[in-house]
Amino acid sequence: MDGKTVNACLTLALEAQGKDIMTIEGLAQNGKLHPLQQAFIDHFAVQCGFCTPGMILSAKALLDKNPHPTEEEVRKGIAGNLCRCTGYTKIVEAILAVGGK
């Protein structure tokens, strides 16, 4: 919301009025995946996919602010998004691959 990640479950619809809202659906442009989306595929960072939208948008918010984060900064940046499939290693690798470019 207005460039910052927020929990939808804590945000009243009334308070989102007039704000710029971006969800995972808005990330790909003209049929082309965002580099983070492509990196998640390339690094096998998606299993069931449930946490993926939150992970990718959290990663985007982090990279917008800090284009070259350390691994620790990446882990803190995605905190609060719980992956119950695989753990976080491949997700962190995918984000670092984009952040390292």
Partner: protein, 275 residues
């Protein structure tokens, strides 16, 4: 979980917000970030008929620092705004340290320091650093403005000492004392190795975030050696009044107050020497 039915009021000025709160009294709750109130409402722990959203009141999200006057945090400044503020990082690192350990990015983008304090949780993480920093709370209400020392602001779990109709507008923090060092939970001030003043705040071990005044008194004017630090840590653990709950037992918490106070005082001393 769904929200219960309520009416959302969106005042655009503080005066309007106060008038609405005065009109609806206990039927209304003030909403800033919503990270405490919204879950409470979903769980039906709070079922206000009116929610007074402060988001449309402009100019309440400032963070301003002045060397002589100190820091002023507007009631709508989010936790992340305070965490990322260069003046907070350089002048009040203990506050950034504590907020950096709160929740997650998404929650900190919504939640406010003011809301964290107004909800008066015994575990309010911004409460302990602001207690050692001697913060004051500026509130406004039907009888006008007043400021309350943070220590007198907390009443009991979930309640603060604001009068009906009053709204928190600003958190005021005096300039940091020279040659002082603080770590999350603790602060000490020294001159030539002598501790001029020590402030120790404890969270999650009493009905409200608290200061350990007896332990602080023991350190004043003394040279802080390991024996004295040990004694003060023991005193602090005796001042704590924890409960046993799902997170840990009272006995364990008392023991941990001793350990953390000892470690905190030692680290704060080192920072004071370095600063």
């Amino acid at each position: 979980m769904t929200l219960p039915k309520f009416e959302y009021l969106a005042p655009t000025t503080l005066a309007e917000a106060c008038a609405l709160l005065a009109k609806h009294q206990e039927k209304a709750r003030v909403l800033a970030g919503g990270t405490d109130l919204v879950p409470q409402m979903k769980k039906r722990a709070a079922t206000p008929q009116y929610v007074i959203g402060l988001k449309n009141v402009s100019g309440l999200d400032y963070i301003e620092f002045d060397k002589t006057k100190g820091l002023r945090i507007g009631a709508l400044a989010t936790l992340n705004a305070v965490l990322d503020s260069p003046v907070v990082k350089s002048n009040y690192p203990v506050l950034a340290e504590a907020i950096g350990r709160m929740a997650t990015v998404q929650v900190r983008n919504l939640g406010t320091v003011g809301g964290n304090l107004c909800n008066a949780s015994p575990a309010a993480d911004s409460g302990t650093p602001l207690l050692v920093l001697d913060a004051r709370m500026k509130v406004t209400g039907p009888k006008g403005e007043r400021t309350i020392p943070l220590e007198a602001f907390f009443k009991c779990p979930g309640q603060c000492t604001m009068e009906p109709g009053e709204i928190l507008t600003e958190i005021q923090v005096p300039p940091p004392p020279p040659k002082s060092g603080a770590v999350f939970l603790k602060l000490a001030r020294t001159k030539d190795g002598i501790c001029q003043e020590a402030r120790i705040a404890l969270g999650s071990v009493a009905p409200t975030p608290m200061r350990a005044h007896k332990a602080e008194e023991m350190l004043k004017g003394k040279k802080l050696d390991s024996a004295l630090i040990e004694k003060a840590a023991l005193a602090a653990s005796q001042e704590a009044r924890p409960i046993s709950d799902i997170r840990s037992s009272a006995e364990y918490r008392v023991e941990m107050v001793k350990v953390l106070t000892r470690n905190g005082l030692t680290q704060a001393m080192e920072r004071a020497k370095a600063g």
